[in-house]
């Protein structure tokens, strides 16, 4: 479904992603893990079209994706839930959801919004509240729901559990599992390595802008940890292990 080939991304003269390739099949959930600065978010942003790729190609459902055109990428069926959620703080929850459907003009938008409210009860309760005044977990729900409003076939999730209480983190991972079972293909970027390994069909460990290894389940965790320790940024590794 998604084919990433020799992807390269640079910030000025600094090359953050140095040529990575991987493939995602329909219905899979793929994890991207690795220490800070490994290039995970950069990869995701390049796929979503936020960042300009300096080399390589990305094909979705057999067609090459345009470079640096997020509004076109989302129309192809790829939605990104970015790091930090980035809900539209000044707008109401319902307006946020409706904006998620910006690419649609069909009649089912209203019913989809109702469905989202059912799925995330908090959204029902706060539908007319300014999104910025809600808690981090609730904002994460808004961000997810907003992305789903576009009816994506591929969902890109960037650190959905970051900064959330453990209980909420559980909910988030549960939700990701649910979405996969509904047939949405998912690419998940996480620092929470173990849980990602457990959840994902397959995971890639990124390090220094390259794929260091691929893993298929929790049983590979020891090896993954080893790959982590190869990281230049030892602080990140220490933090990572502490988290896990």
């Amino acid at each position: 479904m998604l084919e990433v080939q020799d992807l390269k991304v640079s910030y000025g003269r600094l090359e953050a992603v140095k040529g990575i390739s991987f493939t995602i099949n329909q219905g899979e959930c793929i994890g991207l893990i690795g220490p800070n600065g490994a290039g995970k978010t950069t990869t995701l942003n390049a796929i979503a079209g936020v960042l300009k790729r300096s080399g390589g190609s990305i094909a979705f459902e057999g067609e090459k994706l345009p470079n640096q055109a997020p509004e076109a990428t989302v129309r192809r069926g790829i939605s990104l839930v970015p790091e930090g959620r980035r809900v539209f703080q000044g707008l109401t929850v319902e307006q946020n959801l409706r904006l998620g459907a910006s690419i649609r003009s069909d009649k089912e938008i209203d019913s989809d919004i109702e469905a989202m409210k059912k799925r995330f009860p908090a959204l029902e309760k706060y539908a007319t509240t300014r999104a910025g005044s809600l808690s981090g977990g609730e904002q994460q729900m808004i961000a997810l729901a907003r992305a789903l409003m576009a009816r994506p076939r591929l969902l890109l999730l960037d650190e959905p559990s970051l900064g959330l209480a453990p209980l909420i983190v559980d909910q988030v991972f549960e939700l990701v599992d649910q979405l996969r079972s509904e047939g949405i293909t998912i690419l998940l970027v996480e620092q929470n390595g173990l849980r990602t390994l457990e959840l994902a069909d397959r995971s890639y460990v990124l390090q220094g802008g390259r794929i260091a290894m691929s893993a298929t389940g929790a049983e590979d965790f020891a090896e993954v940890e080893k790959a982590y320790f190869g990281a230049e940024d030892s602080n990140a590794v220490a933090k990572e292990t502490a988290n896990d």
């Binding site: 936020v50 509004e71 989302v74 980035r86 000044g90 707008l91 904006l99 910006s102």
Partner: protein, 292 residues
């Protein structure tokens, strides 16, 4: 007592005009981080539009001026600002200086440096005596137009799908693109609105002064810039508040300063602006906008 009421009436009308000038500057800054100094030249273009078509009939002139200025605003965005859209704020700002300088000098070549007279219906330049308070028709016109424009804009930004998209883009441009809002459409629409508002402001200025001239945009854009910054850059409510305060202190100082000090009125007005800034460095109503 009538003095005070008269001053309030004057301040209200000036604040309304300032609001009309400040809104488009705040709107464009909110969307793309550009402090558009060439907004003043949009006002100038609209005023010359009124001049060119005023001989026919006024409604037609207003319509044609609006069309002209909206087209000019869209062209300005397309030709000058789109190529530098992702540059730093200072590059954007200086680009707008250059555009402003260019348009001013083109106008000087085309129309010369003498002001052009525009006749407007005498009903618009009447004055009413309401119990000792003098109210100019143009003051009423200014307030009404400001209320209609602000009200319309608020409705548009809160109710219409496109308006909400614009607010989203103003808050987080990249995220807005990620949900599929087309960047070009939003920015073009913003410039179109800014152009239309410049047209309205130009109409008020022309009714006030009866003339159009090449440098007429400079003072309005400086006022807009100061009001917007004082209110909190990028925040529409802030811009309106900033405009109101600037209008009030301008009329206020005109009233209280002695005749010897009055020529230096602006020194006092900007002293007050400086004080506001020192107390509220992020403006009166800071925007929650993040530049990415």
């Amino acid at each position: 007592m009538t003095d005070v009421i008269q001053a309030v009436v004057d301040a209200l009308s000036l604040a309304s005009l300032y609001a009309l000038l400040a809104l488009p500057v705040a709107l464009i800054y909110g969307i793309m981080g550009l402090i558009n100094f060439a907004q003043g030249e949009l006002t100038m273009i609209a005023a010359y539009g009124l001049f060119l078509f005023a001989a026919v009939t006024l409604p037609l002139a207003v319509f044609m001026a609006l069309v002209l200025v909206v087209v000019a605003a869209l062209a300005m965005e397309r030709v000058a600002f789109r190529p530098v859209r992702n540059s730093s704020e200072e590059t954007l700002l200086v680009t707008s200086f250059a555009v402003s300088f260019l348009l001013q000098n083109l106008a000087l070549i085309i129309f010369g440096s003498r002001p052009k007279s525009i006749s407007t219906p005498s009903s618009l330049s009447q004055s009413f005596d309401v119990g000792g308070i003098f109210i100019d028709a143009v003051a009423i016109l200014t307030v009404v137009l400001a209320v209609v424009c602000i009200g319309g804009l608020v409705l548009f930004m809160n109710r219409s799908r496109f308006g909400i998209s614009m607010r989203a883009a103003a808050e987080d441009f990249t995220m807005a693109r990620l949900v599929g809002i087309r960047a070009n459409a939003v920015i073009s629409a913003t410039f179109a609105i800014a152009g239309a508002l410049a047209g309205v402001a130009a109409f008020v200025l022309v009714v006030q002064s009866g003339s159009a001239f090449a440098t007429m945009g400079l003072t309005p854009v400086i006022i807009a810039f100061v009001a917007t910054m004082m209110g909190g850059l990028g925040s529409l409510r802030g811009a309106l508040l900033g405009a109101a305060i600037l209008g009030v202190i301008t009329v206020g100082f005109d009233q209280i300063l002695s005749e010897e000090l009055r020529p230096a009125r602006d020194a006092f007005v900007y002293g007050a602006v400086l004080l506001v800034l020192l107390v509220r460095p992020s403006g009166l109503i800071p925007s929650n906008r993040e530049r990415v």
